[in-house]
């Protein structure tokens, strides 16, 4: 068992790789009333093209299979749904699908081990029938329709379409009503058997646990065979953007926009770069910048502008999202600000403030069992130990950040996505 520690955060993390190949992570929190468990599978909506190792067969799945699997895994052969079983134990359970992983989780104050029984029972025992697959199509169709009416979601997916040529991040995690109608129980079994294997799984627990005991409890519940997962086929995405802009109309009151910059995901020092980009976003359009003040006082923006940096193993991009009556003026002022910063460099005081803010956001992630478990699982799939944030934070210099500014914030890598009222 590996133990890593951070004195400033006053946190310890225990990591173990089991014989079958599952990674176990425990972040003990003695004082927490809640206990949290999450099992992540290294299979997400981007992984729809792969080769089955044994049969040497190439598979191209319809869009939305990872998410469909997530919905269907709760179904049990005895007719029960594991979500209902967990809820009847007073356990709050859920699941989600991202581009690079699928996760099944629960939190509770009581009945933790009964919850753990159920979690590993349904993850390891899929039960798909023609009938239960058909039924799920109606529910997922309504989920897709719900997102279709959300401008914030539309503006995001359009930004992805503008940024990327091939990377499946440009496709809705849930797929489309057409694509999910092509999914059969065979699709689900083939995919399940290819990816739901120990070497592709990680379990994170947080709460009042003794690491050795909880690891033993988890290992006792695992009986899935270890086979080599299918080989993912990823089409290499070049760094050029796909199209400059995508604009659409919806029944909303105010235009909503995203300006996005495409970033090379392959670069070394991923984490250090990520911190530098987060600092830069504060310096460009954070609430204490003159740009933000100018946009706000002139009524160019409404509510908050949300800058984020999203990255995984095969994509990376910066998003600046907001609402405005005049998206063009926001774009002009944003680009001017970036150029000014490149020309004049970063002020020491602003740099210090941005760094402190990033530090605080990071400590906040350790506030409760769910946040900390989610932090560890997301970073596991990025192959990063979250404590390294603090280490890198200490050594990051203004000069380094200025270099990243020049490299990353380039207008030719920028796209615009807007949703306008009719």
């Amino acid at each position: 068992m590996q133990i890593i520690e951070n004195n400033l955060l006053k946190e310890k993390v225990y990591i173990e790789k089991t014989e079958s190949g599952i990674t176990l992570i425990c972040i003990p929190k003695e004082k927490s009333i809640k206990k949290y468990a999450i099992c992540g599978i290294g299979f997400g909506s981007n992984d729809n093209h792969f080769i089955l190792q044994k049969e040497k067969k190439e598979i191209k799945n319809p869009d939305g299979v990872a998410h469909f699997l997530e919905h269907k895994l709760f179904e049990q052969e005895n007719g029960q749904n594991s979500l209902d079983v967990l809820a009847s134990l007073g356990i709050d359970a859920n699941a989600y699908t991202t581009n690079d992983h699928t996760a099944y989780l629960f939190e509770c104050t009581d009945n933790f081990y009964k919850g753990l029984d159920e979690l590993f029972n349904y993850i390891q025992n899929p039960y798909f029938t023609d009938e239960n697959v058909e039924k799920e199509k109606g529910i997922i169709s309504q989920e897709i329709n719900m997102y279709d009416d959300e401008a914030d979601w539309k503006v995001y997916i359009n930004a992805m379409k503008a940024l990327y040529h091939k990377n499946p991040i440009r496709i809705d995690v849930a797929g489309s009503i057409d694509s999910i109608n092509k999914i059969t129980k065979e699709t689900l079994y083939d995919t399940y058997n290819s990816f739901y294997v120990p070497s592709n799984m990680v379990v994170v627990v947080s709460g009042d646990f003794k690491p050795e005991e909880i690891f033993k409890e988890i290992k006792n519940r695992i009986n899935i065979k270890n086979v080599v997962p299918a080989k993912k086929i990823e089409e290499k995405e070049n760094l050029e953007i796909n199209q400059k802009e995508i604009n659409e109309k919806m029944d909303i009151s105010l235009p909503t926009f995203i300006f996005a910059f495409k970033v090379d995901p392959e670069e070394k020092e991923k984490l250090k770069r990520a911190i530098a980009i987060e600092i830069l976003l504060e310096l460009i359009i954070g609430q204490s910048t003159d740009l933000y003040e100018n946009l706000y006082e002139n009524g160019n923006i409404f509510e908050d502008v949300m800058p984020t940096f999203e990255w995984s193993r095969d994509y990376a991009h910066i998003l600046i999202q907001g609402k405005s009556n005049d998206v063009e003026i926001v774009k002009e002022k944003l680009l001017n600000k970036i150029n000014d910063l490149k020309k004049n460099g970063i002020e020491d005081k602003q740099f210090e403030r941005a760094k402190r803010k990033i530090y605080g956001n990071y400590v906040r992630e350790f506030n409760d069992v769910s946040q900390v478990a989610l932090l560890f699982i997301a970073n596991y799939f990025r192959q990063i130990n979250p404590f390294e944030y603090v280490e890198n934070y200490k050594i990051i210099s203004k000069e380094y950040v200025e270099n990243i500014l020049k490299e990353v914030f380039d207008e030719k890598n920028m796209v615009k996505s807007t949703i306008n009222p009719y």
Binding site: L8, L9, K10, K31, S32, I33, K34, N81, L83, D84, A87, S88, L89, G90, I91, D92, E107, C108, T109, D110, K135, E136, K137, G138, I139, I140, S141, Q142, E143, N145, M146, D148, D149, M250, D251, I252, S253, L254, G286, Q287, S288, D290, E293, Y296, E297, G299, F302, E303, K323, R353, R356, K357, I358, Y359, G360, V363, R364, F366, N367, D368
Partner: protein
């Protein structure tokens, strides 16, 4: 957890929640006033005008700079509707000093910043600063118009508005554009002074700190010392006084928008009944009917009939209402409505199993158990108790739920009537 309430002066209370389970501390100010047509728009405007700048930090940028130096303290303000009251809230969430590279006195700083923003505004010639009023009026107008952008919330608010018209709970917490037009820097400042002198004020501080030190910090704060004593004038939404009348036919209303998914909202009334106190029975009734994955509504409408992705009901104790909310295909309106009604009938006939009953109890108890697991949930719970004037500890709350009998649910079900059926469609 250690909770202490202390009256600072008439109408002004300090609530301390001492707890070392978390890495952050909260300082929150709640100003509570009756929700009234005449004042709601002015009240909705006030928090954003105050945050624009105060004597000490003349613009928002200066406030943010200070927050960033506190290792990214989070500040926010706004309004909330609680029954027939409007709550104007301001809070700062900061990292506890013990997790910082150096001691920074974050709680003390949060308290000082908030009191400056709320009680020491930027005033020029007995008026708020003109520029700030203009920007914030424009922003509030956009906010009022943007309520239709979240279709689910919009449909819910429309249903409430149809049921209560233009009074109390029926009002939008952001007010109305016609009233916004009448506001200027002079009359808003006049209103502000009255608000500060009359609102019920509750200060919550949650985190890891020394009780005596923080209490004295509050009591010796000059701006807090200056606020006047006041008589609380809030609406007490007592479940016994919210009398609903029997109606023959529910109001049915359909409205159109360019949308893909239809939103069905059904407003239910709880009629007078024989129970001394039915709030906990109502909560359990709601859980069996439509709250959570084991509820009848979720199981039938979503899981069995696959009509919806979202299907839930919520109980509003302050107003003796339950609201059913489903996101469905437009063509499935009649079918979903019929099913929802049939399930209400089933509740009256006692057509739910002991298992359904026990599952719903467990679901509610799990929620109660986790109140203390999150700082903000705990503050909201304790503040809710403060407003209800029927304070209940978490332990008492748990006991009330455990003691409910199945027969009581069936008896209670008879007091449910459909008031309004609202459908947002294309």
């Amino acid at each position: 957890m250690n909770y202490i309430k202390k009256e600072i002066k008439d109408g002004v209370n300090l609530h301390l929640i001492i707890n070392d389970n978390f890495k952050t501390d909260y300082v929150v100010f709640f100003l509570t006033v009756p929700l009234e047509k005449e004042t709601v728009t002015q009240n909705a405007l006030i928090p954003n005008v105050l945050k624009s700048g105060c004597q000490k930090y003349p613009n928002y940028k200066k406030i943010v700079e200070e927050l960033e130096m506190m290792y990214g303290a989070e500040f926010d303000c706004g309004v909330d509707k609680e029954g027939d009251n409007l709550i104007i809230k301001f809070f700062i969430n900061s990292i506890n000093d013990s997790f910082l590279p150096e001691k920074n006195n974050n709680i003390e700083k949060s308290l000082k910043i908030l009191t400056e923003i709320i009680f020491n505004p930027l005033i020029e010639n007995d008026k708020f600063k003109e520029e700030y009023i203009n920007i914030e009026k424009q922003n509030l107008e956009l906010l009022i118009n943007s309520q239709k952008d979240d279709k689910d919330e919009y449909a819910f608010e429309r249903c409430i508005n149809i049921m209560y018209k233009d009074s109390g709970f029926g009002l939008s917490k952001y007010g109305k554009i016609v009233d916004l037009e009448k506001i200027n820097s002079e009359n808003l400042y006049k209103h502000y002074k009255q608000l500060i002198d009359t609102a019920k004020i509750d200060i919550f501080i949650s985190g890891n700190f020394e009780k005596e030190k923080i209490t004295s910090e509050v009591e010796t704060n000059e701006l807090i010392q200056k606020i006047k004593e006041r008589k609380e004038k809030i609406n007490i939404n007592h479940f016994k006084k919210e009398i609903k009348n029997k109606i023959e036919n529910p109001e049915v209303k359909q409205e159109k928008m360019e949308i893909t998914q239809g939103k069905l909202v059904i407003g239910l009334d709880i009629l007078p009944n024989n129970f001394e106190d039915f709030r906990f029975i109502a909560l359990l009734y709601n859980a069996i009917y439509g709250d959570g994955v084991n509820s009848k509504l979720f199981q039938i409408v979503r899981e069995k009939e696959s009509l919806a992705y979202t299907a839930k009901s919520m109980y509003i104790p302050k107003k003796n209402n339950i609201f059913i909310r489903c996101g469905i295909e437009i063509e499935k309106y009649e079918k979903t409505l019929e099913l929802s009604k049939r399930l209400l009938e089933e509740m009256k006939n006692g057509e739910f199993t002991d298992d359904d009953f026990e599952k719903a109890k467990k679901y509610i108890l799990a929620g109660i158990n986790s109140i203390e697991a999150e700082q903000d949930t705990q503050i909201i719970y304790l503040f809710g108790q403060e407003l209800s004037k029927l304070p209940l500890t978490v332990e008492e709350y748990r006991e009330k739920i455990i003691s409910i009998k199945k027969e009581e649910i069936i008896e209670f079900a008879k007091s449910i009537q459909i008031n309004t059926i609202y459908f947002l469609r294309n």
